[in-house]
């Protein structure tokens, strides 16, 4: 379990925490209001039972033991009754403690689950731009550190704070009743304890900060050197690496030693101050009891001594919890931050349905017919029209920029007819992938229009638009599950036969069957046990099984060597047949037979035409293709 980091808490943190805390509590009370009320009541009962028990000490000594010592014939019956009464109190206290602890398990785990689920659900709805602009590690830490810290705060800090504050109040009251002077002595020592805690805690936090910094530096070095270990070997650089590591390691040792030292001292220091407080009470109390001036009896002193112990504990607990709560609030703030992110907007209303043609008319149907239609509901007329999906995609003077005023695409005009294969070539950063991002609306155009079968893509429901477009990316991204599961990702209802057929199409069947469990082989860690080429074959199979009317292949075969690519070319050709396909590739063999090749440079289409046309033009394409510089 991640341990909380000690940090210096600033005023601003506390102000932010207060806002977040309000929101968090509003959230918690909405779902768990009743439970919290019950917990509150139970804590009070348990604290009262405890205090009642400590007070019994006084009764025991003053009312039973002392008189019995003096009487000749001791009668133990009243004592037994008193003890049974206290035992009953204790039982109620324990029952209450058990109850609230149990409730808190359900509340904290329930809240954690609720948070986690809502977070995930919301995250899935966020636009691609969110993931492109946030570090994935940061997003991950919402789920790991932040939620977990919050759960710990809910399950431990909240009940402890309630418990501690109530204990402090009730013990303080009891102590006042027992003896005012002794209470003053106790409070004085609490003051000393708080000062020591603040000072030691401050130094500790300072060194913990230094320790965090040194850990980060050392871990950075470890990560870098381990990843480059083979290079280190090849360059015989071992000794230099060791020297550098030693420097960072020693630095960490210094700060870790100091940080731990202060943290270690804090506990015994408080414990011994507590002991001194205890001793003082014993001495002062003893003297007072002896003088008989303040009405302090031996029994009262005994009870007071117990209270003294139980008073110091919650005080140091509260001071420890405060820091932790501020940290948990920072995490909660980050989680709320993600929850507040605008989800992807989808104003589209045109949907995609299966259809069959009947006398030249399209009729919507349930079963898969291989014919799709755009279902277009016109709200003004109240009518529904069906347009056959054919795969015409038109870019009408499209401009696009990720960041305002930094255009990445300029005046893109492009027509893809039904079943055509359109290729994009150009340098890294020329805008190839951006164009495909616009087709499936991962991003929206800044200006101009994109039409799919003459329908503006803005009007098409995103889900419909995306399921009409199969996509194979260079980074394949497989999911934990079996090989078959991963292929089936394209069509959840696919039968085993369909899965095998898709794998055959992508030429993946051969290697899958050689895997230890064939199609049932578990993949984990993004298919870490497969080669990059094999992963791409699976991604192709995954797209094939979806049987989409149009395809986007973004460097889909880049990691497959040319010989293997040639082998799967048949499958790829079969996959592309009859579908409008957009291909991004840097390998000639992949794009040469395209109907039209677009050469992109700096966000503009600078040349277009078939392979032969472009070669004869002797322009940029010719230059890229031959590796020769054209003499201007």
């Amino acid at each position: 379990m991640p341990r909380p980091r000690a940090q210096q808490v600033s005023r601003k943190d506390i102000a932010n925490s207060a806002d977040t805390m309000k929101r968090l509590f509003a959230y918690l009370f909405r779902y768990y209001g009743l439970q919290f009320a019950a917990v509150f009541v139970c804590i009070i009962i348990s604290v009262l039972a405890n205090v009642r028990g400590t007070l019994f000490m006084q009764t025991l000594i003053d009312d039973y033991v002392m008189p019995m010592l003096e009487s000749e014939n001791a009668d133990f019956t009243p004592l037994l009754q008193a003890i049974l009464k206290v035992a009953a109190f204790y039982c109620i206290g324990i029952a209450a403690a058990l109850t609230y602890n149990l409730i808190m398990v359900y509340v904290s785990q329930g809240a954690q689950r609720r948070f986690r689920n809502e977070l995930f659900e919301h995250m899935e709805k966020l636009p691609i731009s969110y993931f492109d602009t946030h570090k994935h590690g940061d997003i991950m830490s919402f789920y790991t550190n932040d939620i977990d810290t919050m759960r710990q705060m809910i399950s431990q800090s909240i009940p402890q704070m309630i418990n501690a504050s109530f204990t402090v109040v009730s013990v303080l009251v009891s102590m006042f009743i027992l003896s005012v002077p002794l209470t003053a002595v106790t409070l004085l020592m609490v003051g000393v304890m708080l000062i020591v805690t603040k000072n030691l805690g401050g130094s500790s936090a300072k060194y913990f900060g230094a320790q965090q910094r040194d850990i980060a530096a050392l871990n950075g070095n470890i990560q870098e050197m381990m990843n480059g270990q083979k290079v280190v070997k090849v360059f015989c650089h071992e000794e230099e690496s060791i020297a550098e590591f030693k420097k960072l390691n020693d630095q960490l040792f210094e700060s870790a030693d100091n940080a731990n030292k202060f943290a270690n001292i804090l506990m015994p220091a408080n414990a011994q101050i507590g002991n001194i407080s205890y001793v003082l009470i014993a001495v002062v109390g003893g003297a007072l009891a002896l003088s008989g001036m303040t009405g302090l009896t031996l029994g009262k002193l005994a009870s007071f001594l117990s209270f003294n112990k139980s008073f110091n504990m919650p005080i140091s607990q509260v001071s420890q919890q405060l820091n932790f709560i501020v940290m948990a609030m920072a995490g909660a703030g980050r989680i709320f931050g993600l929850m507040d992110e605008e989800p992807e907007v989808d104003d589209g209303y045109v949907t995609l349905v299966n259809a069959k043609e009947d006398n030249g008319e399209l009729i919507e149907c349930e079963e898969r017919t291989g014919v799709w239609a755009w279902k277009h509901y016109h709200s003004q007329e109240g009518t529904t029209t069906y347009t056959k999906l054919s795969g015409r995609i038109v870019f009408d003077d499209v401009d696009f920029s990720y960041v305002p005023n930094k255009p990445v695409l300029h005046n893109i005009v492009m027509y893809a007819k039904e079943g055509q294969k359109i290729a994009f070539v150009g340098a890294t950063g020329a805008g190839k992938t951006t164009i495909t991002n616009l087709i499936n609306r991962f991003y929206d155009v800044s200006d101009g229009k994109i039409r799919f079968d003459d329908i503006n893509v803005n009007k098409i429901k995103k889900a419909a638009l995306r399921s009409s477009l199969g996509i194979v990316l260079q980074d394949t991204h497989l999911f934990t599950g079996t090989v078959a599961d991963n292929i089936r990702y394209g069509k959840l209802s696919a039968t085993d036969e369909e899965v095998v057929a898709a794998a055959r199409l992508a030429n993946a069947d051969g290697f899958i069957r050689r895997l230890p469990d064939g199609y049932d082989t578990m993949l984990s860690g993004d298919g870490a046990n497969l080669s990059q080429g094999q992963r791409q074959l699976l991604a192709i199979a995954r797209a094939a099984i979806a049987d989409p009317p149009a395809l986007i292949l973004d460097e889909a075969t880049s990691s497959i060597d040319t010989r293997t690519e040639k082998i799967i070319q048949d499958g790829m050709d079969r996959l592309m047949r009859g579908r409008t396909t957009f291909v991004i590739a840097h390998r000639l063999s992949t794009i040469r037979n395209s109907d039209c090749i677009m050469v992109l440079d700096g966000g503009r289409i600078i040349e277009r035409g078939s392979h032969e046309e472009l070669i004869s033009q002797g322009g940029k394409y010719y230059q890229l293709y031959t590796g020769k510089v054209v003499n201007a």
């Binding site: 060791i242 030693d257 020329a430 984990s524 993004d526 840097h586």
Partner: protein, 597 residues
């Protein structure tokens, strides 16, 4: 307890001994920490005893002087306790952080001796975890054992002895209470530990699935699988919720049981104590000390169970660390090493090779190959045809299974490793740059290279053009992993770095894949002219990168399928012809621009 069994068996024993060797210069701290902890416990235990004396001989006897005197003693005790606590904390911190430092240092140093086979065995990410998380776990446990591990049992035993000293009859109650609580706590700990292990596994799985969704969000969205993923996640999350509830419900009992035990002890002591006081076998003060010891005993038991959990959790870390510490490199310097490489000739005679850890067949079989000094050799073949394995044998990064590899006429096994690797320079396929300036990176090749030499190497590697465009030129800072330069730029810097070694054999393992064809050709031209005497071995995917080599080797499935010039192979080798045709005759199949300059 299971720990006892684990620690006492011989494997656990050697593991602990191996780890304890790393204490080194902190022996004093390791020794003193428990000593001071014991002193602190002793002081804490004396205080209640003195307390009894204040009550009985002071208050009840009406002796004010006695109260002050004993009170003074108590303050002194608390003061010594404070001192001991602080010293214990100080030494404990030093012992544990020093131990961690030594562990890290020894692991790191041992890793530096690893051969490629050793590195492959562990994998990089697992080495990182071992050096970071595992060491931290062990550091925390070590400190815990030194401090709480002495404190808790000592406190338990002393408090028990004191109780017996005060009143053997009443102390029996504690003995029973401790026994019962011990059994219950042990039972709960063992039960929950099992559940928690499963829970943490599930928890990791859940986080892994979030990770997948974050990095694969384009796939999720492209396939419109948001709802499907959300459902899947909810199912996993609900499952985890149920498991956590099951585990924590059991733990919830701990505190109330402990509390109940304390209450039960208080009541029993009150009852029997009152009887003993009345019958004059016990004093009021003693009764109060007994009640203080009660808390000590039961708290110590709880502490012990905590340590137990902590130790069992860190056993896995300890094992992983010991594995690294006791790993022996598979390749070491020979006894009487050859310190000079005569020339750049390379000879494979009937070499078979297999990666030791993997079962399955040979990766290379019966390779017989002779390369003359100064030759330029191209190697081509599909993925998995063992091109990389072949060249890695030349600089003795792996050991052959049978046959031999010689450089300059002498078996690579006989060379001093550093000598050999300085003369055989490899640009690895997955090459990395390190954080530092471009100069810093280049000087990995030669520590003493002048600026002029660095620039010259960059010129040959066609890296000068883009470096000079950087505002800081050769002083440009390269981020960790070289993320602020493009793939093609990185590859050229790596080539320049290898050139600075002025090797007799230069090996490029697919090192220009992200460099455009024109620049690629320029680099090869520089090789031919500037380092004519160096043997050059170039692995490539592109035919154009190897076409003009003196000889081209076609690899297929761990065997040499053909050797010859471009023309010879085109005429006689089917695989080569296939590859060539798939990339067409115009000389290039690649549209990547000058590495994204």
């Amino acid at each position: 307890m299971t720990c006892m069994e684990q620690c006492s068996d011989s494997y656990g024993g050697t593991m602990i001994l191996r780890l304890l060797q790393e204490v080194k210069e902190y022996k004093k701290d390791v020794f003193l920490t428990p000593v001071f902890m014991l002193l602190e416990v002793a002081m804490e235990m004396i205080i209640p005893l003195l307390m009894a004396s204040i009550i009985d001989d002071g208050v009840e006897a009406g002796n004010l002087r006695h109260i002050f005197m004993i009170g003074g003693c108590m303050v002194v005790c608390a003061g010594i306790g404070l001192f001991a606590g602080i010293e214990g904390g100080r030494y404990g911190a030093r012992a544990s952080t020093g131990f961690a430092r030594n562990l890290r240092q020894s692991m790191f140093e041992n890793i530096q001796t690893f051969s490629f086979a050793n590195i492959d065995k562990f994998s990089q990410s697992s080495l990182i975890t071992r050096l970071t998380t595992d060491v931290t776990n062990l550091q925390n446990s070590f400190q815990m054992i030194l401090r709480i591990g002495t404190r808790a049992p000592a406190s338990l035993i002393v408090a028990m002895l004191m109780s017996f000293y005060i009143s053997p009859q009443l102390a029996q109650i504690y003995l029973w209470a401790a026994l019962i609580l011990g059994v219950v706590v042990a039972f709960i700990t063992v039960r929950t530990k099992k559940i928690f292990e499963q829970v943490f596994k599930k928890y990791d799985d859940l986080n892994a699935s979030v990770q997948e969704n974050v990095s694969g969000i384009r796939v999720v969205k492209a396939f419109v699988r948001e709802d499907y993923e959300t459902q899947k996640f909810h199912a996993a999350s609900n499952n985890l919720y149920r498991m956590f509830i099951r585990a924590e419900r059991m733990l919830v009992g701990m505190m109330p049981i402990m509390q109940g035990m304390v209450y039960a002890c208080i009541l029993l002591i009150s009852w029997f104590g009152a009887k003993l006081i009345v019958s004059d076998h016990l004093t009021t003060g003693e009764l109060m000390s007994l009640l203080t010891y009660c808390m000590n005993i039961l708290m110590s038991l709880m502490m012990l169970s905590m340590i137990f959990v902590m130790i069992t959790m860190s056993i896995a870390s300890a094992e992983r660390i010991t594995e690294v510490l006791s790993e022996r490199p598979t390749i070491t310097n020979p006894d009487d090493p050859v310190m000079e490489v005569k020339d750049g000739s390379v000879d494979f005679s009937h070499v078979d090779f297999a990666y030791g850890t993997h079962a399955g067949g040979d990766v290379l079989s019966d390779i017989d190959l002779h390369i003359r000094s100064g030759e330029m050799i191209g190697i081509i073949g599909s993925t998995g045809s063992s091109k990389t394995s072949l060249v890695n044998l030349i600089s003795h990064l792996y050991d052959v299974k049978s046959g031999s590899v010689s450089v300059g006429g002498i078996d690579v096994k006989k060379y001093d490793l550093e000598t050999l690797r300085n003369e055989v320079s490899v640009v690895l396929q997955n090459n990395v740059l390190f954080s530092g300036t471009i100069y810093d990176n280049l000087r990995w090749g030669d520590k003493n290279a002048t600026d002029e030499e660095c620039r010259q190497a960059c010129k040959w590697a066609c890296a000068d053009e883009f470096i000079e465009q950087f505002p800081d030129g050769y002083d440009t800072f390269i981020e960790q992993g070289g993320t602020n330069v493009s793939g093609g730029q990185r590859q050229r810097l790596c080539i320049a770095r290898a050139l600075l070694k002025k090797p007799k054999v230069l090996i490029l393992d697919d090192s220009t894949s992200a460099v455009d064809t024109t620049t690629d050709a320029k680099i090869r031209k520089a090789f031919r002219e500037a380092i004519a005497g160096t043997t050059k071995i170039i692995i490539a995917q592109r035919v154009s990168s190897v076409m003009d080599a003196d000889r081209i080797i076609v690899m297929d499935d761990g065997k040499i399928d053909g050797i010859g010039t471009h023309e010879e192979l085109l005429a006689a080798n089917e695989i080569y012809r296939d590859v060539y045709e798939s990339q067409t005759g115009a000389g290039s199949g690649d549209f990547d621009q000058p590495g994204g300059d």
